[in-house]
């Protein structure tokens, strides 16, 4: 797998809500090589502080060399990134990690919560292009409020796959959790669930899958220094207490291979 370090120009800056930003970057080599669920490492500022790059899932790629990331401002790095302007260049490194394994012949159920929605857009696009029939597929998106996810829901609808929504405050779609929606949705026995979101949510999704006997692929996070297997800092426990490295072995894993201890 080839990786690139590119100086990418910010071609579009979108403030989707108070603290959620979507950046469109011109990064042709990385965009062309990225598969759904893979991530990039981005240098938020210019100097030595903050020192490390920050990992972000690739949200979308286009055939004309653009790549998007979708992120929430949670600290210094994301705050700096949210202050960047169109026309500026940032250093992007990727694509990194192992993404989702799309099961072409099985119905897909995508479940995204909060910023975990980010990698699912590229996944939805790939699924819609790779599969002959998406009539049994479903995308379930959740967020705090309509404000947070309204713009995203619109983007997901372009693929002709059924989209269901849940919000914590009931301002859009079901009033409650994505897992409520998932429980109430009839899923074929051979459905594959692809999920990303807060750990609590993914664990609940995984538990539902275990009960229904569905395959479940989760995209998880960890702190990272290098994103490419050099620092060995991004370990997580597997269910049999071995270590895996999120940047190399993941970020997408089979849910039942991991240890969940919330």
């Amino acid at each position: 797998m080839t990786q690139y370090q590119e100086k990418a120009k910010i071609t579009r800056f979108e403030q989707l809500s108070e603290n959620i930003v979507r950046l469109t970057l011109y990064s042709p080599d990385i965009a062309a090589a990225t598969k759904p669920g893979q991530f990039v490492m981005i240098k938020a500022g210019k100097g030595k502080d903050p020192l490390l790059r920050r990992p972000f899932s690739v949200h979308q790629t286009t055939s004309d060399g653009h790549l998007q990331i979708l992120f929430k401002v949670v600290g210094r790095g994301t705050d700096m990134l949210a202050r960047r302007k169109e026309g500026e260049e940032i250093s992007v490194f990727g694509p990194l990690g192992k993404g989702y394994k799309i099961e072409k012949s099985k119905p897909a159920c995508l479940v995204g919560g909060g910023l975990g929605i980010a990698p699912l857009l590229l996944l939805a696009k790939s699924i819609s292009r790779m599969k002959m029939d998406t009539s049994k597929d479903v995308i379930i998106l959740g967020g705090r409020s309509a404000d947070e996810i309204k713009a995203l829901v619109k983007d997901f609808k372009q693929f002709g796959i059924k989209v269901l929504v849940a919000t914590d405050d009931g301002s859009l779609g079901h009033h409650g959790f994505v897992t409520d929606v998932m429980k109430n949705t009839r899923l074929a026995d051979d459905s594959v669930v692809y999920t990303c979101g807060p750990e609590m949510m993914m664990m609940a999704v995984k538990n539902i899958c275990a009960i229904k006997g569905l395959q479940c692929q989760v995209s998880i996070e960890s702190v990272m220094a290098c994103g490419m297997g050099a620092c060995l800092g991004c370990t997580k426990h597997t269910k049999d207490n071995r270590y895996v490295h999120v940047c190399l072995d993941g970020p997408v894993f089979n849910a039942e291979d991991l240890k969940w201890n919330l």
Binding site: K48, R53, S91, A230, L232, Y243
Partner: protein, 314 residues
């Protein structure tokens, strides 16, 4: 830029000698920050490096510490990886083949929790083709002596050095711990023990606390600080050690530019190692080599060796 042969001269001349080991330039990658080199093969031209130093190897495989293992700090990072590695047998079987194919010196970093273990790894490595030198990490706890790090007591540092020297068929570089009162004393001790060179510094022990949860940010509570934050301390230690010993000194600590590297050479380092900077820019070492080429040309130096220890203190 490439080496230009000018009759018998190589220009610009970046060659340096670490004892009997000649490097085509002074830039090496630091142990634990460059994997087993292969991870970087698509990101840079490995053949531009002066040498590559691989992740520390122990006798048996080690799985390392529980997460979180890293945390960013001001201009630096703390790590408590816990010396995770594949162990010497798998290293020889799985990693050496690739490394043997590289046309650059490969230096193997070793660690142990007893003198016997250091000696056994050395024995196992000697005779393996393609190893240019051994770097001994003495910042590890001596299990038999209540967990005190070998590198914090002069007699233990010397004893490890002697033990490794006895079994090694290649030059031995001893990597000093900065977590000591007098690093020059440690350097002299390992020189007495027969070290062919010393490299410094390893990480400075530190910690970070999460106020909200009132917990340490690392599962291991404490970890090693690296990156630009430690550069001034590292420079000072290289300066003191270079004055105290007559074997070559290799500078490490927070280097992320040609300028940083050359400052270490002025302070007395014959060569440098690049660590944490590899995480931010995977081709930083190659960039530094290119910067050195330019520096030597721009400053009309006959060789980069002119800079070693050329600091003027008045």
């Amino acid at each position: 830029m490439e080496f230009v042969r000018n009759g018998d001269e190589i220009f610009p001349d970046l060659r340096v000698n670490i004892g009997s080991l000649e490097l085509k330039n002074p830039v090496m990658t630091a142990s634990g920050t460059f994997g087993y080199a292969r991870e970087f093969e698509n990101l840079m031209n490995l053949h531009r490096l002066g040498a590559v130093i691989v992740k520390g190897i122990s006798l048996a495989p080690r799985s390392g510490n529980p997460p979180p293992r890293i945390v960013e700090t001001a201009c630096g990072m703390l790590n408590a990886i816990g010396l995770q590695n594949v162990g010497v047998e798998r290293f020889i079987k799985e990693k050496m083949v690739y490394l043997q194919g590289l046309q650059i010196p490969v230096i193997v970093n070793i660690l142990g929790d007893s003198i016997d273990e250091y000696q056994e790894i050395t024995e196992r490595l000697s005779g393996v083709k393609g190893i240019a030198a051994i770097e001994v990490n003495i910042s590890c706890p001596n299990v038999k002596k209540g967990g005190v790090a070998f590198g914090t007591q002069a007699h233990m540092a010397k004893a490890v050095t002697e033990a490794v020297k006895m079994k090694s068929s290649v030059p031995v570089m001893v990597k000093l711990s900065p977590n000591v009162t007098d690093i020059a004393e440690m350097a002299r001790a390992v020189e007495d023990g027969g070290a062919d060179s010393v490299s410094l510094i390893n990480t400075l022990i530190g910690m970070a606390i999460d106020l909200e949860s009132r917990r340490p940010k690392l599962a291991n509570v404490i970890g090693g600080l690296s990156g630009p934050a430690i550069k001034p301390v590292a420079l000072r230690m290289v300066y003191q050690v270079a004055k105290a010993v007559s074997i070559p000194v290799i500078g490490i600590g927070g280097i992320d530019s040609t300028e940083d590297a050359l400052e270490f050479m002025l302070a007395g380092a014959s060569a440098v190692q690049i660590g944490t900077a590899n995480f931010i820019n995977p081709r930083v070492s190659e960039d530094i080599v290119e910067g050195m080429h330019r520096y030597v040309i721009d400053h009309n130096l006959s060789s980069i060796r002119e800079l070693i220890g050329a600091l003027e203190v008045k």
